[in-house]
Subunit: 338 residues, 2 copies
DNA sequence: TTGTATGCGTTATCAT
DNA sequence: ATGATAACGCATACAA
């Protein structure tokens, strides 16, 4: 295996010193037209390519950020990751992605990011570490930006307004005359589920309606099926006339069961989905859905982390709110008189 | 900013030489029990953490591989990427992900991967470079494993058996008495679409049925809607009685239009989907679908690249085939007599 | 068995 | 304006 072409080779070929090569190539410091010419000629002739790892170790910045997340297969996260990568590319950063589904791995991964000399971390961890003492993020020397998570430790973050979103959704159903609204969302152990539940409860309370935990389903895993629970619910004396559900598995399972039991949508059951555009589009009738702008969320995350890295961010912690929007489809109808 | 703890600090604290520290920590060469003890004590006391970038530049391997793909938001790719990352983690590799949607970016990214000293590349590029002269992969000094792509240049690859899969699907519909089968898949410019089309044509020919290009829709983008095309098709004198479509956007759009025009599934239109489990599960009735094992595909890709990196792979190119499986749902019925 | 010294490829500092 | 050289942090060949 032959050694790679280095600045030394270029310097020798051009009859100049390595320092001059570096100065020409990086346009730092002075260099005569003649010198520049000779260096560029040599570079072209030898096909020289700079070794970024060597540059990084010298300049102390790797131009790489890490994204810590539970699972890339989750459509929400995949879309966000995709957009973040695209934007980081424009900023000249690379993306190292690491998945982690438990605290020990969180710790290991953050440590790894540090020792690999990444410059920052974007994270959407699977644990929010209510006890700050056990939080691996608290000891992280790298700038951290959280995506839709509330840690007790103060970090910059991008936060979706799930609470307001749910209020919109519930309000819409109330307007249509619904009084029994089921809720199928992710676990309250993490911010997205927790905030949705709060918005849901608030809306019911303001409308003077009781909160019935039996028609609320909040499983830990986004892969879990809602079929069994939906079947049970529909057999209640007063089954829900409407449903708000997350669009990965919970929504589809529930609709599946409802259809199987002979219920028509929206005539017998009104449905509001929550999720990305594409998973939602798979349904018929077109589902009324709560969506938020992943592009904006990704833009905010990238901006926050880059500013923090460059030291142009204010000392205090910053939180960017991402609004939800209720897209009206055809999956909701006026509640049947019973 | 204070300098990081290095082997020198550890050596000084332990009263030994840097070489000894390295030998103890990497368990290379001899070290007395006493020496080991003192080194480990010092490491623990100072909280020393090795700098991987420095190690990499010395050992010449970065333990990192790059994944080049068009778009992480595509569910197929996201699922594959997810699994690849998980497996690479087990093998001690990190994953640098780079998206590219055109040849120039392919070239740039591969170059970047090389100059960043990655050890290998897994790629599912958006161009197959029929002209080898323009193929950026051909000049890549890194081991390359392709995922479901045919380049003229010989690379290790993981290939889904779309052709056989489509034959299964068509055969199934033929058995049900269908004679007009529409096909909505991705463009024939890339292997997945191309192979599917071949399998489709082969099956029709063997059954003595004509190939009608008007009921075949193969758009370039996986995001494109099939609504307009489906609407047109259904107004033909002899509209298709069945449809095979990819499960991202093409299937949903088509079903959407069919439902809107008053057609029932499967009574009036039989449907077979192609895609990942979760996107498919969103539909009712449960759709009969062509699926393949992403886990196996990812396992093969990781095995191929790791073996190639370690030099334990044979000289010749290797291709791993991934079979498709037809999962019977409730979206297909016996063709109506007309 | 342990210590010393060199190289990895850059960039940056300092002479010249 | 340009050249020589140190330094980044580690691993390793070789000397002791």
């Amino acid at each position: 295996m032959t050694r790679r072409i280095s600045v030394h080779d270029v310097a020798k070929a051009a009859g100049v010193a390595v320092g001059s090569v570096s100065r020409v190539l990086n346009e730092s410091g002075y260099a005569s037209a003649d010198l520049r010419q000779r260096v560029h000629d040599a570079v072209a002739r030898l096909g020289y390519q700079p070794d970024y790892t060597a540059r990084h170790r010298r300049t102390q910045h790797s131009k790489t950020i890490g994204y810590l997340l539970p699972n890339i297969a989750n459509p929400h996260l995949a879309v966000h990751l995709s957009e973040v990568e695209r934007l980081l590319q424009l900023e000249g950063y690379s993306l190292l992605v690491g998945t982690s589904e438990h605290p020990e791995r969180d710790r290991e991964l953050l440590n790894f990011f540090e020792n690999r000399r990444l410059e920052g971390v974007i994270a959407s961890p699977m644990t929010e570490y209510r006890d700050p003492a056990t939080c691996p993020f608290a000891n992280c020397k790298l700038p951290v930006v959280l995506v839709d998570r509330d840690l007790t430790h103060p970090f910059d973050s991008v936060l979706v307004e799930h609470r307001l979103g749910l209020r919109q959704a519930v309000k819409y159903l109330l307007t249509l005359g619904h009084r029994r609204i089921a809720l199928f969302v992710s676990s309250a152990a993490l911010r997205p589920g927790r905030e949705k539940l709060i918005g849901y409860k608030e809306s019911l309370e303001e409308a003077g309606l009781p909160f019935d935990e039996r028609i609320v389903f909040m499983p830990d895993s986004w892969l879990e099926s809602s079929k069994a629970h939906m079947a049970e619910i529909l057999n209640f004396d007063q089954p829900p006339t409407s449903l708000i559900a997350i669009g990965t598995q919970l929504l589809s399972g529930a609709v599946h069961v409802a259809c199987k039991m002979g219920l028509a949508i929206p005539e017998d059951l009104s449905v509001i989905g929550i999720g990305t555009a594409d998973t939602m589009d798979l349904m018929y009738p077109p589902v009324t859905a709560l969506r938020y702008d992943f592009q904006r969320s990704a833009m905010a995350a990238v901006r926050l982390i880059v500013e923090r890295i460059n030291g142009v961010a204010p000392t205090g912690v910053r939180h960017v709110q991402i609004a939800s929007e209720l897209i009206i489809g055809e999956s909701c109808a006026i509640a049947r008189k019973r």
